[in-house]
Symmetry: C2
Subunit: 127 residues, 2 copies
């Protein structure tokens, strides 16, 4: 996928995507299968880092970068909660990711109750 | 707060915490007041980075680091969704944060519909 084709947000009914973890880290994935949803952090390596304000819809409305989830930000770290479809060794298949092929992976975390401060027991955020 | 006192997860009824943004980035906060909840990414600067598996409850149950939200991880980036209480210039007051005083801040994002792949319209995740 090239940047122009990249969706603004991932969708659960979107295509399956694969996260390739360096096999050195495979032991760190033990138990990940128990998570229905995982949080993926990744480095948006093609993003500009110099915009304090921006107009994401290319209209005249300009907002501060930290009030947007735009990929263009001082520390361009993407954060998505995706559906874990399966694990095959050091490869995770997920749905709902919205990043480019080749995007460097930074971290993977299970989504849990208590991750968010509000409504921890509701289905929107708990697993 | 020192590490031994640090809560395992933030709580909405916990103390107010302040995020100090470098004033250079203050324009990037414009519009953040519209968010009820924000996602905070921070660098867990005191965390070990060499554990592929760990036993967070100090019992005999060992799990892979990526199946846990432990702060000890190869790229020790913390991610919390917190309640935004108010903004005063380049200082944000929040509830629900669980990190140490002096923890370097990496990024701030609003919490929105579409951030998670499941149940985007439910109150647990939307703002």
């Amino acid at each position: 996928m090239v940047r122009a084709d990249c969706p603004r947000q991932g969708r659960e009914d979107g295509p399956e995507c694969r996260l390739h973890i360096d096999p050195v880290y495979a032991p760190a994935l033990d138990g990940i299968e128990q998570a229905d949803r995982i949080e993926v952090l990744y480095w948006l390596h093609e993003a500009r880092r110099d915009l304090l304000t921006q107009s994401p819809k290319a209209n005249d409305v300009t907002r501060g970068t930290f009030s947007l989830r735009s990929p263009l930000r001082p520390n361009p770290i993407g954060s998505s909660i995706v559906k874990l479809v399966r694990r095959d060794g050091a490869v995770l298949t997920v749905r709902g990711l919205d990043c480019l092929d080749g995007t460097p992976l930074l971290d993977i975390k299970p989504v849990r109750c208590g991750y968010a401060v509000e409504a921890p027991a509701k289905p929107g955020i708990s697993d």
